[in-house]
Amino acid sequence: MIHQCRGRIRVWARGGVRLGAIVLVIALASVSQAAPPIRIGLGMALTGGLAANGKAALMAMEIWRDEVNQKGGLMGRPVELVYYDDQTKPATVPGIYSKLLDVDNVDFVVSGYGTNLIAPAMPIVIERQRVFMSLFGLANNEKFNYPYYFQIAPMGPSPGQEFSRAFFELAAQQNPKLRRVVLVGADAEYPHNALAGARENLKKLGFEVVYDSTYPPATVDFTPIVRAIKATNPDVVFVASYPPDSVGMVLAAHEVGLRPKLFGGGMVGLQFAAFQTKLGAKLNGIVNYDFWVPEPSLNFPGINEFLKKYQAQAEKAGVDPLGHYLPPWAYAMMQVLGQAIEATRSTDQKTVGDYIRAKAFETIVGKVKFGASGEWEKARMLLVQYQNITGTDLNQFAGPGRRVVLLPAEWKSGTLLYPYAEALK
């Protein structure tokens, strides 16, 4: 009896060993056949002052990655994102990109969000001759002229001037002619560049600057500034501000009763749902820059599908629930890189870089073609006016008619309500 049992155990054991060996051989074969992923590295502001945008941008990139992987990856290889939190601190950026390139050995790098966090990565990327896709950097490549730098925001060959060009062109079109201009902005990188560009535009158009000043980034109360502006009796007020300041300026303008003929320009933050739903009708009449708005003229293929996916995840992640401002561009930036890798069937930096420079790309934000400086060949910054906003319901901002496009004429979707005071009624 005992002998019989031992025999059975031996048979089972032999069978088990054989089965194990077969499984092992299959597993090893599948591992050796699985293509290594294409790894794309980046630093992103996931904490700190720019985290609200940074996190939303990363979410858009992850949506792109998941879609690409569902379709079989790039060149048959899955895509992997390798990212680190730059904490909105430029000082962390060189370390992050050195690690991505030297330790993580990623195949490609893309930038984090914003001018200040792109600039410190430039020397590292240039030294290693890598393709560098850039997300909303203002004139980062102006001094380097690096041929493989590609900036996705549609600011064109002169990004500094582009932020205010349409605004002042609109001012110049008004009759009777507008003269007195106020320039005001935060004492920081983006407003400095935007204000410098505004001064150049004003020189060309022959306006008179009656107030030109910056304020410290930690300013709490904007009413003294707005009162000083009001005392100059301006026709046009151009503001280059970061998100909390933009809110402060809008509230102070209402409290003080500032009523120039045109008000707005370069106010970052008014594009975010968090502010739109709180400022509500106070936004009416403001003429501001934008990159994409849900107007029929800008209904590009894929944008609505993307926004649907993004919005389904946004609330849980605590980021902008509509995602009109930055996420489509983060997604489009990855589309450009992905299309270039797929078309060249290569991860060689020169091959991919040359292809991006030479070709045009169909993306969810429209057709993208880069020029010599790595900016868009032709600018497509939008000048929009906030109109018909009633109450603070979020849904009204999701559809058309609230941020109508005034310029460029090619994308126009509405007419300017003029002057500013009239639009407030």
Partner: protein, 290 residues
């Protein structure tokens, strides 16, 4: 550009701003000025107070100031726990100087990350009937968004001042700030008194947070912008002087406002801190320092 009307408005705006600054600085004046605890986590309690008021406002449609008031006992309790932890871990062992500083630095990050995890990174704002409105008193326009925080800030400062000057516990807190050994000889427990004082400081700070979210949007990391200002106000007013804190806050508010109106806002902070340096050169213990 100078006009008398502009001057009046600048002074009024400065006073309103100063009232808010007083509320924001009160907690550090108690902790740093009276207890000599370098609570560099102070700004994050302002932001935590702002988010807590936001949460109550969103959930129950409560006025943010009322929400802030209702939350003060909770933050008092939080302050008590934090001080006890600080005392047992550092002060009792005589290691409070450097390690205590690291403790508060770490606490700052923990609270900040907790806010990030709970609320995400997006900006938060609230709605109230007085936001975005102003009233005219003669030629002077008063922004209600700043007037309400100013009034609450001044009342809060006066209440803390009266508490310290008139009540037994208040006098004990003043006593412990002067000589804790003498207080112990009088039969009072300095640790207990310091616990109450620290809790009070955190409670006032949380209310200041509710005032902050009335003035503008908040996000978890923005508290750091206030650290320089609140320490400057505490030092200018005189360490541990509550009335000094109020006066210094009003001076800095008016200085910022006047500079922003007449010389350009980029000079506003420079003038304020220049004023601080000048005042300290003339009177090193601060305006009302002992």
């Amino acid at each position: 550009m100078f006009s008398f009307e502009l001057l009046l408005n600048a002074v009024a705006a400065g006073l309103l701003l100063g009232g808010f600054y007083a509320a924001v600085s009160l907690g550090i004046s108690v902790a740093f000025g009276l207890l000599e605890i370098a609570n560099i986590a102070h700004p994050v309690f302002i932001i935590a107070g702002a988010y807590a008021a936001y949460a109550l406002h969103t959930a129950f449609a409560l006025d943010p100031i009322l929400a802030g008031l209702l939350l003060t006992p909770l933050f008092y309790g939080l302050g008590v726990v934090i001080y006890r932890l600080y005392y047992v871990s550092f002060e009792q062992r005589g290691e409070e100087s450097l390690r205590g500083l690291v403790f508060f630095f770490g606490l700052m990050f923990i609270v900040e990350v907790a806010l990030l995890l709970v609320y995400g990174v997006d900006y938060r704002m609230i709605e109230a009937p007085y936001i975005g409105r102003s009233v005219l008193i003669g030629p002077v326009g008063i922004s209600l968004r700043l007037f309400v925080p100013c009034v609450v800030g001044v009342i809060l400062t006066l209440a803390v001042y009266l508490f310290l000057a008139k009540t037994f516990y208040g006098k004990a807190i003043m006593g412990v700030s002067q000589d804790s050994l003498a207080l112990r000889l009088m039969g009072a427990d300095p640790v207990h008194i310091k616990t109450i004082a620290f809790g009070l400081g955190v409670a006032t700070t949380s209310l200041a947070g509710a005032l902050l979210i009335v003035i503008g949007p908040v996000e978890p990391a923005m508290g750091r912008e206030y650290i320089g200002r609140v320490f400057a106000i505490t030092v200018l007013g005189g360490m541990g002087s509550i009335s000094g804190t109020l006066v210094a806050a009003l001076i800095l508010g008016v200085a910022e406002s006047l500079t922003a109106t007449f010389s350009g806002p980029s000079w506003a902070l420079a003038v304020s801190f220049g004023l601080l340096l000048f005042a300290l050169a003339v009177r090193p213990s601060g305006l009302f320092g002992r």
